[in-house]
Symmetry: C2
């Protein structure tokens, strides 16, 4: 993830907490309390969305920190006890951990509960969490398009989702009321919400997010392999372009490993197109085909204008 | 170029104009008045570095605009008359134009004048400008590591170079006093100055700047080739990583065409390494080698820390 809104910016479209009104959920459980989990806690508390926030994290340090920072009102060593009586369970850990978490919590979910997540891939989430869910538990996967290059429970903040998109990918036949409730939840966290099919999400994000991260990781890796003297000069003069890639390539390694392993086909398809285009450009440089270069470099400006017009710049 | 300092930020290390002191140069000529040329005019006037600023631009519109904005005190249709009596001539046009400009101005340069430039490649500049210079004219090529994605005479501002590096690459045997004067010039424009050999500059910038721009242009081009419906979704969700590439890929097309044509060997060498690394990563994704992915994604974080420690983040 690479979007870093100003921490102190006023919320763009987050409704203020309504005094005296009942929270949207009596009890919410966060499984995993890193950047997104902790930011969700801040955003939920800002909007008064949960009567009680329970948490589970694998590491002792994160559990202690989450309590210390007031991110959760109760903390649990095992996921099964964390989800007990929860009306909403949000998995905020790397997507590679979902199958194990699903197996651990499945039989402990409250009837009528909503099971959601914040993972960057969505077909794999439905594959790993969907089967064997008890009747009356509603799976509504989600993906907030927001993040920073920082990780851990201390890195979260309430405004992370303000003005950003959140994509929900409920499988066909999902209870409409549950989907509606999750739309209200994310809007109250400051987001704009879009509902789409999981496969379509994965294809779109392969281009907008997964391929850019892959490329950034690659070029920073290429530099990491250079000899020390060269590397220190690259760092010194990094403001000329390279720097922008390093921020993207500082994102959480385990999270991104799991993204690439779980959206393999869509990522390889886009990577194939990119590699072809790169080879064509390489050939144009080798043969001194200035017209081809200039034509491409002119065409790409239109995309930038589109992003500025869409107010996503 | 991709560095965008705040336009209204106070200058970090630009010395104030000393009241009553003589300017460093009586007459400075700018050949080309785009982002860098116009910013140089602003920076020179801020620091009182030139008694008179003359200018040449190829297009009638740019010449009129430069006068209207007060960027130059005299404007000239042809480069030869623009450089007459100048103590310093700075070429600020795409590097592909240097050979022609060099031929046009060569016989009109004042004895003792310094000929410099701001191009992103340096060996080609010495190749195109160096031969046949009159005795007593000093070639001191330069490259300010600063820029934005905007172009044209209206896009310049005085603080563009503040706190940024400027690299000078005088050929062996260049007059030391001329080099010293250009160091003082760039420091007065707000920059930190580094002197290095032209070939070393070109290798270093191939990694820090040329390859990142090439990759950004490629991925934005890959997206530009997608069908319209997909493209509009990519723009909508671009904050998830893609957006950062579009800013880099909005830089001036002709300038960048000339960079790649004139630093071919160094760019192809770095591009070759990058392509190998990308292929290795592609293979790791295809075969589900999570350990390899995680190891790379962890290693790249160290480079980011280096940039933060070097205060270039």
């Amino acid at each position: 993830m690479s979007t870093a809104p100003k921490k102190n910016a006023p919320p763009k479209n987050a409704p203020a907490k309504e005094a005296g009104s009942a929270p949207l959920f009596d009890r919410v459980t966060l499984i995993g309390i890193g950047l997104i989990g902790s930011s969700l806690s801040h955003a939920m508390r800002r909007a008064g969305l949960a009567g009680h926030i329970a948490g589970h994290a694998r590491s002792e340090r994160t559990r202690a920190k989450a309590l210390e920072l007031g991110l959760v009102q109760s903390i649990h060593d095992d996921p099964a006890s964390a989800v007990r009586d929860a009306d909403l369970v949000i998995i905020c850990s790397p997507v590679g951990s979902y199958a194990e978490i699903g197996a651990a919590i499945r039989d402990h979910l409250k009837p009528g509960a909503i099971l959601s997540d914040v993972g960057s891939v969505k077909q794999a989430v439905i594959r790993d969490l969907g089967p064997n869910l008890p009747d009356g538990v509603h799976l509504v996967p989600g993906h907030p398009i927001a993040g920073t290059e920082h990780s851990g429970p201390e890195s979260g903040f309430a405004t992370l989702f303000d003005g950003r998109w959140c994509i929900l990918t409920p499988p066909p036949g999902t209870d409409a009321a549950a989907v509606e409730k999750m739309i209200r939840f994310w809007q109250a966290c400051g987001s704009q919400v879009e509902v789409m099919e999981a496969g379509h999400h994965d294809k779109t994000l392969a281009i907008t997010s997964h391929l850019p991260h892959l490329i950034a990781y690659t070029i920073v890796g290429t530099v990491a392999d250079l000899e020390e003297a060269t590397k220190s000069e690259v760092i010194k003069f990094s403001a000329s372009g390279f720097r922008d890639f390093t921020r993207i390539a500082a994102s959480d390694p385990v999270m991104w490993r799991d993204v690439f392993l779980n959206n393999r086909d869509a990522v390889l398809e886009m990577l194939g197109r990119f590699a072809e285009d790169l080879t064509a450009l390489q050939r144009a440089i080798r043969w001194g085909e200035g017209d081809k270069l200039e034509a491409l470099f002119t065409r790409t400006r239109a995309i930038r204008r589109g992003i500025i017009d869409a107010k996503q710049a």
